[in-house]
Symmetry: C2
Subunit: 446 residues, 2 copies
């Protein structure tokens, strides 16, 4: 059993925090969560702080630039606290798993009711309402996988009704390299891309994408890396995972259809990818680990993609939703309308550990802070679709929103909101927070 799956005192459902908002029912960030993020504090006089790392607790952020030096504890943790205080999340991600677990225990003890540090730490709590979240770290390489089997089948059905899943799908964790520079944190506006679109006589024109879509994914951050030429085995894979977030892989379907042969998606994806600001650590996810079960008819994975611990607890249970708020809904004060629900991991054919093992089997080196996307996590039914391409059946069947508006693909002013929550009987549920993005009009006159 990988160490990251181990339950400890930090998962005790009886724990309550001296930050009251963390104890509310269904709080996103109870003391059992403790995700890491980076924020800028806005001061009333209009100034802003430098970016700092923080831990979410209730509706506040514990500012680690000030709080980490107060944590004390074992000398073994000194480097970790220094990295966290300095804002060096990538450095911290390289810590040994035992260090990361010990930091979590220390943060839990510091933030729970009865902590001796409460009075010292209280001045370093920042209300989330006074903070702007920024990217948690600079992402070196971003890899987007295609583990959502229901999505792969549904999309394949649109293009290849006789063979929705390609012959390699159940053998190879399909993935491709994405664009790192254009990954943005939640609430960053997303500009509709211009691009080439084929017209009826086979000659393309340049113009705004008319088939702009979202894709509901989880993101996973790499902890320690591996040296080039030295694969990571399934037995080691979990310790190379740092934590997860929500990810919206914005996609321009019309650009994609024209450009993707023979080398895959390019401009259809690289204008923007949005992630939620808080990284929920693998340690926090321990209560939500599940056996990873394949259908009986599916082939056994090749040995380099198999381990008993992965079969026993390789999966993570996350309930996911996608909601949409149009500009008209926003004007009318209407909340985002839920478009779909799906659940991880039943939506995925491969676990995160298998993605690590596959990515490195040929010798590719991972680095701390690299990001994986899972691919679109649609459920088996049409109501569980993780993209508009599926919900609107390739754009052919528009759907109606509660206020009467119709959509096939995204319009300017539309906000897409993705949320995720982990639940397990006998444990306090924790949230991944949300990733939200609003579509802005394409630049004119390109």
């Amino acid at each position: 059993m990988p160490a990251a799956n181990t339950l400890d005192e930090t998962h005790d459902p009886a724990l309550r925090s001296w930050v009251d908002s963390a104890n509310l029912p269904e709080a996103d960030f109870p003391v059992q969560n403790l995700p890491f993020g980076r924020f800028i504090r806005a001061y009333p006089e209009g100034a802003a702080s430098a970016p700092a790392l923080g831990v979410a607790i209730g509706d506040h952020i514990l500012d680690l630039s000030a709080a980490a030096p107060l944590m004390g504890g074992a000398r073994l943790l000194n480097t970790a606290w220094s990295q966290l205080a300095a804002g060096d999340l990538k450095g911290y991600m390289q810590s040994a798993p035992a260090i990361r677990r010990a930091v979590r225990v220390a943060l839990s003890r510091a933030l729970r009711v009865g902590s001796e540090l409460a009075d010292n730490l209280r001045p370093h709590l920042v209300p989330m309402a006074q903070a702007a979240m920024v990217m948690p770290c600079a992402i070196g390489d971003y890899t987007d996988f295609y583990t959502g089997i229901h999505h792969a089948r549904a999309v394949g059905q649109l293009f290849r009704p006789d063979q929705p899943l390609l012959p390699n799908y159940k053998w190879v964790p399909i993935g491709y390299h994405g664009r790192s520079s254009s990954i943005v944190v939640s609430d960053t506006p997303v500009v509709r891309p211009n691009g080439q679109k084929p017209v009826s006589d086979g000659i393309p024109v340049l113009g705004p994408s008319q088939r702009l879509d979202y894709e509901l994914e989880l993101g996973a951050f790499v902890a320690q890396g591996n040296p080039q030429g030295q694969p990571v085995t399934m037995a080691q894979a979990e310790q190379h995972l740092f934590g997860v977030c929500l990810l919206n892989d914005w996609s321009a379907r019309d650009l994609q259809a024209w450009e993707y042969q023979p080398l895959g998606p390019f401009l259809a994806k690289n204008f923007a990818t949005s992630i939620s600001p808080w990284i929920v650590t693998m340690e926090a996810l321990a209560p939500f680990r599940r056996p990873f079960v394949r259908d009986p008819g599916d082939p056994s994975p090749l040995p380099y993609l198999h381990s008993q611990s992965n079969s026993d607890a390789g999966a993570i249970a996350v309930d996911l939703t996608v909601s949409l708020q149009t500009e008209a809904m926003r004007s009318d004060g209407l909340a985002p309308a839920e478009l779909s629900q799906s659940e991880y991991p039943s939506s995925a054919y491969w676990t995160l550990a298998q993605l690590v093992a596959h990515h490195t089997v040929g010798g590719c080196n991972l680095q701390s802070g690299d990001l994986f996307g899972t691919g679109t996590l649609s459920g088996p039914s049409a109501q569980q679709a993780g993209s508009l391409l599926e919900l609107s059946q390739g754009g052919r069947v528009p759907f109606t929103l509660p206020n009467g508006e119709q959509r096939s693909f995204l319009q300017d002013g539309d906000s897409v909101v993705m949320q995720g929550r982990c639940r397990a009987s006998g444990f306090v549920s924790i949230s991944l927070g949300q990733v939200r993005g609003t579509v802005q009009a394409a630049p004119a006159g390109v």
Copy 2:
């Protein structure tokens, strides 16, 4: 006419350097070249210096960590010299084009015969034989294009004899995102990847690639970036280019064939990409700019990919060669045997400026130090092939080396050497140097 194409005193063929080796006929690095690289100096006692930026001159390197502070000159250049002294090539890449041109003029004056700085700079010349080259900068994002039309046609012919070029080829500069972390500098050994290979009954096995190949490409480094959502026009594109190098896009053809549908190459490419250590700047390439000419039957590029200056001088003339030295040849003291010659830009369907404009047209943000690959630069004839896939006709027709050995694909111990040189009547020719890599055996027991 973009400023980078402008001839100035630094291109004068009469210039000679006080570093004698720079004046030899066909020297790689005459005073007209002045490429940037990063090196580590090895001292006789076994110690090594920290990495520093340098400029190649003859068979020496001018150590900019020591030399840049001595350059003096206009105050406008102070920041640039500080960045170069500090080893911050990415910072320097963000300089305005006028600054980069002025730095080049200052370096040329400092290194030419008659320089008043010669005595001060001479102590900071490091013999190349006492230096190890390292990566010139950390590469944020790496994009590999597919501009080599003869390669695209030859490879397409192998897989789709009835339609070698796909319908989008002459409209879209096809490209995909590559892996940044595994880009290595010349002379770094390349470990043969293990990966999934389909066997006859449709079930794959894991094992070493049996169809390991090289691809002859040019690399281009991005100078200034662009903000996300703000495309770079053709009129601006040249100033976003910093310089070029040689690039070997190692490719595992058997892994690629099995994995690449539907999202493109992944493990078949991401185990390693090798680049030459010296970045030859766009300013140095001015004498070798050429009109960019399309076949009369080819469609006009869409307006966002067209500019008069690109038609007039968008191309760069580079003569390219690939050579192979097997382990047996090395043991017998035989030099690498030349496998093919080709020439840029006649091998390419798009210019570098067009790649910048296309990459950003949807809003994707480029960053200083990003790397583009051109794609495989094969000539129109079989003898000008830039990959073994083409030379061996898909592996079906092995070729014979001068010592009698045969090859279809690369064997362990094979060294691949790529070289490039720019020539123009009335100017001193300059070299891109070389990129060399030797194949090591795949790890056992994966």
